[in-house]
Structure formats: C-alpha cells, structure tokens
Amino acid sequence: MDEVRASIELRGVVKRFGAITAVDGLDLVVPPGVCFGLLGPNGAGKSTTMRMLTAQTLADQGTIEVLGYTLPGESKQARMAMGVVPQLDNLDVELTARQILDVFAYLYRVPRSERGAAVERALDIANLRPRADTIVRELSGGMRRRLLVARGLIHRPQMVLLDEPTVGLDPQVRQELWTLIDGLRADGVTVLMSTHYIEEAERLADTVAVMSAGRIIAEGTPSELVSTHAGREVLEVYGPPAELAALEARATERGWPFRRSGPAVALLEAERLNGDAPEGVRRPANLEDAFVALTGQDIE
C-alpha cells in the first residue's frame, strides 16, 4: 500500500505554549506529489505546524508521520529526505553563498563526487552564479531569499517545506519565487507551503487547507473552497455608511452570507439572491471571499 501513503500525516496533534494552545487537534494529510497550501491568518498555528514537521517543536499529543517516518523518534531520517525553507532568514551571514551550499550539501550527505555539481545546480536555482563568492551579508533581500530556497533543495529532496516563502518581499521577487515553486511541482516534488497571502495559495496550491486557531477548518482545491464557501458570484454594494449598515442588518436578518470589503459590503453566494438583490456590482467569487467567510478575518 506504499503508493497511496501520504507524505505527511498528522492525527490529533496538539501543541501548547503555556496557556496558549497554538495547535489544537490538527488532522492533516498531504498526499505525495502535490503542492499543498496551508492558508491562515497570522497566529493560526502554521509556523508551529511547520516546526513540528522537523521535530524542532514537539507535539504534546497526537501522531506525526513524515515520509513514512514517525516523529520525533525518526525525525532525522525524515529531515534527510526533505528540504526546509524557513520564514525567517537564517543564512550564515559570514559565509559566501557557495560556502553555505557546500556546508549543507555535506550535512545532507550528498556524496562527495556529486557535491560540486549539486552546489552549481543550487547556484543556478538561486540565480546567484555571478555572486557565488560574495559574503551573504552583502547580498540583497531577494538574493538571500532565493539562496534560502536553493539551500533547501541542495540534496534534491522528495518534499519541501516552505514557511511563508514570500513574506515581506517585493512583487518582482515574489514572482520569481512563484515560478521556482511552480517548477518544483512540475518536477513531482511534494510541496507543503504555509502562507497568509491568498493570492499565493490560489496561484500555486493544488490543495488548500484553511487553518484557524490551530486546526483545519476547510480543505479542497481553491475552486472547491470558493464554490462551497462563497458561491459563484459576489455582489458588492457601495454606498454611504448608514446605508451599508442597514444592508448588513438586512443580510443578517435574512441569513445572507456577507462580508465587509473595503468601502463596500460584499454579499456572498449572490447567484441565489435573484430579485431580492440590492443594486450593486456583480463579480465572480474568489478565494479571499471564501477565506473571510471561513475565518471571519480580513487579510492584509
């Protein structure tokens, strides 16, 4: 039954930090070969979940299996087979790009005869060949982020964990990284990516799990999530605040799902409103609508 075994399987995982429960009964199954997006607002428990997959955080309850290894006992074998790209830049700022890749090729047990080629390949991934011998401290933010990704891919892992891969990056660098992640998926690498950017999840993930308060509250393809939780269409109604407040009261009374969307009230599942609908602009529902409907939280 090996071929149907999940790359990641979490069952009933709980993690508490003092009085705070960061992960609260999490069940998560990531099948091999997909790009899986863990989407949630800040503080939903995404980073804690990511750290548990490398056994840098230990679960208080539940079971964790990664690539067929049971954590935390077999975490080292699991870490050997996967690559990790952290949210915070933890590159060794005193080394050069090439030296960092050398060290990690060694740590990941890349055979000596293949190490040189692995480092060159990673430099190409990071598009850093011309700056290979520059000390990391002197590289730009975008270059460093690309190097972080390349460091996690040095040993051609069968699975990669990307924790908020594009947080705080400018749009151009974000595009570059998205292309890189797309390429991984095309190569059949399993990707687990946490993000709080809706667009990122929509653009990259085959499957999105929406995480809130330490557990998964919805899961599916982006289009499934949209149709299930926001319907086909959204009606955006603009107007003075008093009118919008009245509309919200009416929507609540009639049980229409809605959300505030900047200067407008957006009525979800607008295709079901028919003649009853107020004046407004109709547009297709998107993942952001579904996300807000699910979590009750607006995103940045």
Binding site: A55, Q56, L58, R79, M80, A81, P86, N90, R151
Partner: protein, 272 residues
Amino acid sequence: MTAMEQSAKAPVRRGRRVHRLEPAALGGVMMRDVVLFKRYWKATTFSSVVQPTIYLLAFGLGFGSLVKTVGTVKYVEYVATGVVATAVLFSSAFPGMFNTFIRWKFQRTYDALLAAPVDVEELVTAEILWISIRAGVYGLAPLFVGFAFGLDPTWGMLLVPFIGFITGVGFAGFGVLIAAVAKTIDNFNYVTSAVLTPMFLVAGTFFPISSLPPVLRTIAKFNPLYHCVQLVRDVSLSIYDSADLVHLAVLVAFALLMWRLAIWQLQARLID
C-alpha cells in the same frame, strides 16, 4: 523520472539507519567553523596568544625579579607553564559563550542546522570539539614565548595540546551551558567577573595555592583549571608524580560533565 513515478516512490521508507554523533553532521557543522577560522584566524590567534604572553611578560619578568624560584622550579618556568591553562581557558570559555549565543539568538544559524539532519547533541559536540582543538593548539603559545625566556623544551610538552584539548572541552562546554541559560549577552559579565577571573587567579598559575589560606586552598582543589595548571607543569618540566593521574581524572570528569550539561540545557531551549 515522471512525477507519477517519483510520487509513487516518495513515501517508501528507505533502510537508512541513523546513529548518534554521525561524522557527516559533526563534519558539516565544523566545516563552517573551519571556513570562518580561515578568514578570522589572524584576529583569533592574536587575542589568544597575546593575552597569555602579556601575563607571562608581566609576571615572569616583573615578579621574576623578586621571586627567583617556586620550590625547585625557576619562576619563569613556573609562570610559562602555568599560563598555558590561562590560554586554554580564554580560548575555550569565551568562544563557548559568545559564539553559541550569537549563532543561536542573533544569526539563527542553529535553527537552520536543526532543520537539516543534525541533532542538538551533534551540533553542541561539533562546536565544542572545534573550540577545544583550537584551544589545545593555542595552549602551546605560552611555551613558545617561554622558550625565549629560558624555558627548556621537553618531550613531555608534546602532551600539552592533549591536556589543553581535554580542558578545552570542559570550558567550552561550560561556555555553551552559560550561553544556554543566559537571558541576555550582558549576563556573561557576571560569569566573567564572578567565575572565570577568580578561577584563573586561584589556580596555581602565578603562585602556589599552598600560599593561600586553608579555605581557599580547598576551594582551589575543586577548580578544574588548577588541575590543568598542575598537569601541564608536571609534564612540561618532567616532574611526574602520582597526583598527575588525579589531575587528569578531574579534567576528564569535568569535560564529560560539561559536555553533557551543555547538550541537555541547549536541547531544552532549542527544541520547544
């Protein structure tokens, strides 16, 4: 390989067995130390060599004009061999404290290493190993300076790097332990002034502990640095005695204890 083949293969458990303290993990961690050392060796060597040399000159020449011998040993020989332990202490305890704290808290290097197949035990062991190898070598510096002031080379001095290494493991481990429990890097000041400085003065480096009041003399015997001083002096001046086995045993015990304590305490803080 197609995506299907790869994904079908992906979850198959491979038979690789892992061990504790694997060479690839230790070597990888030390590799970065070596790279950095190649870049900074001048500054590191300068501070590790110059400081004991100044002690040697100040005490050896300054004091030496008043004190000619301690027991049967010429004072310059007494100080030159004693300062070996000082060099080892400074080049192991300080890197243990500062490197650990900076790499862990400021540079987050340890976070990156622990996401790779490296355990805390391997990480700490590799850092301590590297520091102690360096400390063992730097421990020779005072002897070379001593040669210029009339210290005679002996075969026994070839043992000094090993003694320095064992002592270095203890003090590097002590440094890592302090870094693990310190709240801020400023806390190191307390350790430096309240622990390391008295330790270095009450170790029989510049004067024999027999000249101390009985209470301090007893305390000094619990000072690992005292045992390092005695052992280095005895092997360097070929005055072997059965107490040397006790000195060695204390140093080995100190090294093992600090090594394990450092791993235990850092593990508790790196893995939450």
